[in-house]
């Protein structure tokens, strides 16, 4: 392998992509169905009053149940798709914003470069996790169960747009500064003087000379944005903020009018959501966070390796033997000797 990180990263990302595409149709059970009383080998498994089915015990539920007795394998297979869609949307929006702003500030030169520098320092002074948390709480309230009298009201209703705004508020600055630096480097080139001399205006120069030189950067920037976004989505999920609604699980252990076990559980499976509520479920079903975390880490490793590999591909100081652009390049046509000979 010439570029091991890129190969491995693309393999892992491709694997996760396959799960995202085909996972839901491969899922053996309904991810939302609760098996409240499930009997296997003389033991009862089920929701909170009962024990949970551990992994590697039942052949039809190889990863066991989650803490309110839903099939974990099916939930995991369903969970990758929304997370991946969310991360890709947010990362591409951040990239497009960064491209536009970084390109414009780079194009206007040193006079506006300090603006982006200052913005960069300001955003590094507030962790993006706190910004995202602040925005999500601002628009959607806290993620905890709110009781109104004895009726629990579900508070967590953050949608994809809230996440998009929360993660894009300051997230674009990083790629903007990379793009800006690159534009500044390109602007030093002498062929731009000749382009000015033949009478091209600014927009033509930007369109014909600068934009094509930005395009090879895009895959690497996209991969590194994906890493950052996935990490923050995972952290927000761990803190209890995830997309998709939740419902209230309740059960009775005693003969009382009100249910004595009330839990707020997410309905639609999503990786960030499965990482949440670690302390709520680690005594009953610690494997949920472990399996969901492994999938999340696979996703992160795939993105990290891909971005690292792409960075190596672009790094001209490294010895290079193989180029991904070489795949699409047309081979130079061989001079047709016979024809030349004929004319001669």
């Amino acid at each position: 392998m010439k570029n091991l990180p890129l190969t491995l990263g693309l393999l892992i990302t491709g694997f996760m992509l396959l799960i995202a595409i085909f996972g839901p149709s491969l899922a053996p059970h309904d991810p939302l169905a609760e098996n409240r009383s499930f009997r296997y080998e003389g033991k009862f498994y089920g929701g909170p009053p009962r024990e949970t089915l551990p992994p590697f015990v039942h052949p039809e539920h190889p990863l066991g149940f989650d803490d309110i007795s839903r099939d974990l394998l099916s939930r995991l297979l369903w969970a990758v798709r929304p997370t991946l869609i969310l991360c890709v949307i947010i990362a591409s929006v951040r990239l497009v914003l960064g491209m536009a702003i970084g390109g414009i500030t780079g194009f206007f030169g040193q006079r506006v470069a300090w603006l982006l520098d200052t913005l960069m320092s300001i955003t590094s002074a507030i962790p993006i996790l706190i910004i995202a948390l602040g925005y999500l709480i601002w628009t959607n309230g806290t993620a905890l169960v709110i009781y109104q009298g004895t009726t629990p009201m579900v508070a967590n209703k953050a949608g994809i747009s809230a996440f998009l705004i929360a993660l894009c508020l300051t997230g674009w600055v990083n790629s903007a500064s990379v793009i800006q630096g690159h534009v500044q480097k390109v602007l030093q080139a002498q062929y731009l003087e000749s382009a000015l001399a033949i009478g091209l205006n600014r927009w033509q120069i930007a369109y014909r000379y600068i934009l094509p030189q930005m395009l090879p950067l895009l895959p690497m920037l996209l991969a590194s944005e994906l890493t950052a976004v996935t990490l923050i989505v995972a952290e927000l999920g761990y803190l209890g903020y995830f997309i998709g609604g939740s419902y209230v699980y309740s059960d009775f252990t005693k003969d009382v009018p009100l249910p004595d076990i009330v839990k707020q559980k997410a309905s639609q499976p999503e990786l960030g959501q499965m990482l949440s509520d670690f302390f709520g479920q680690y005594s009953r079903s610690p494997w949920v966070s472990v399996f969901a975390g492994i999938l999340m880490v696979l996703l992160l490793i795939g993105f990290t390796l891909t971005s690292e590999g792409l960075r190596r591909q672009l790094d001209i100081t490294r010895p290079r033997r193989w180029n991904w652009r070489g795949l699409f390049q047309r081979k130079p046509s061989k001079p047709n000797k016979t024809k030349l000979n004929q004319t001669a």
């Binding site: 507030i126 962790p127 993620a143 890493t227 880490v297 390796l305």
Partner: protein, 322 residues
């Protein structure tokens, strides 16, 4: 280079008050009042009536009052039980400072150590094993590693390998409680610094003067100490700032995970826990945000001052300019 430091100092002076204002405004807007409603009991001849007196003053009036009190050294009180904010918060600040201090120390030691260990003396390049270690370390989120560690410690106790937990997993009372959170805080920044430093070192070892020093017969250790490290140190110290910022950034998550009652825990509770006495308190939220921002900028500033101090070129340049 010294202009960069001046700019960061200016940012520190401007941004911290702005963050304080923003935090107070955010809490005010969310909860709807600056001071919570007061219960007023009016007594009549034949009985009494309970009434709530709402705070109807606009935000800026209250904020100006707060600033005036702060100038006199009074941070105000928490209204639920009238504790002084300064008396309530100082324990939290000290705990966070302890944790961050240990985490910074671990970051620097682990990061620089790994960066030196990563280079293989034979080829002068990063050894492939360490590349994969760096990638893994950069990819695994801290909270996942932390929860895995907690589960492992509990499992070891449960199956009876140890009589008691090897390390306390939650709490804040003893020094032993500090080990796990500091480790989790330090790991990712350490990997970040190590990967950057190692790639810089690798770049340096391809230079001709290293080959010349090798052929002169210098020992590997001497080459590293005399030639490579002085050339790389300024850049590594500059990246140290970003690494330490990462550690401070994950403070909220790690303190929430390990129940270490510092300012990160307080911030998380202020934002999410309705039963906390600090829940959306404008005074406290403003102070917390300002403190967090101040630490983040100060860490970056410190790292750039260090890198300037180490770098001979930058030092002479700043002397000449000054």
């Amino acid at each position: 280079m010294s202009r960069l430091i001046l700019r960061k100092l200016g940012l520190l002076i401007v941004l911290v008050p702005v963050l304080h204002l923003f935090g107070a405004w955010y809490a005010y807007k969310y909860i709807g009042y600056f001071n919570p409603p007061k219960l007023v009991i009016t007594t009549f001849e034949n009985g009494y009536s309970e009434d709530y007196e709402y705070d109807t003053q606009p935000f800026m009036t209250r904020y100006r009052e707060t600033l005036g009190a702060m100038a006199n050294g009074d941070l105000g009180r928490i209204d639920r039980d009238r504790t002084k904010i300064s008396a309530y918060m100082d324990d939290f600040v000290i705990r966070s400072a302890k944790l961050l201090g240990l985490a910074f120390l671990m970051t620097i030691v682990l990061g620089l150590g790994m960066c030196l260990l990563a280079i293989s003396p034979r080829t002068g390049r990063i050894s492939p094993g360490m590349v994969s270690v760096f990638t893994l370390g950069n990819a695994i989120p801290g909270f996942f590693l932390g929860s895995l560690l907690i589960l492992a410690l509990l499992y070891v106790k449960r199956i009876g390998w140890t009589n008691q937990l090897l390390l306390p997993v939650q709490g804040y009372s003893t020094a032993k409680h500090m080990i796990l959170p500091a480790l989790i805080l330090a790991l990712r920044p350490a990997f970040y610094i190590a990967s950057i430093g190692a790639s810089l070192l690798e770049n340096e070892f391809q230079q001709d003067y290293v080959r010349f020093a090798k052929s002169k017969g210098l020992r590997w250790r001497t080459i590293v100490r005399r030639h490579a490290i002085p050339n790389v140190a300024p850049a590594v110290f500059a990246s140290l700032g970003r690494g330490l910022q990462m550690a401070v950034g994950s403070l909220v998550l790690v303190e929430a995970l390990f129940d270490w009652r510092g300012i990160g825990w307080m911030l998380f509770n202020t934002l999410t826990n309705e039963k906390a006495i600090t829940f959306f308190n404008p005074l406290i939220l403003g102070l917390l945000l300002a403190m967090m921002g101040a630490v983040l900028i100060a860490v970056d500033l410190l790292a750039s001052v260090l890198s300037l101090w180490i770098n001979p070129i930058g030092r002479h340049a700043s002397v000449g300019r000054g």
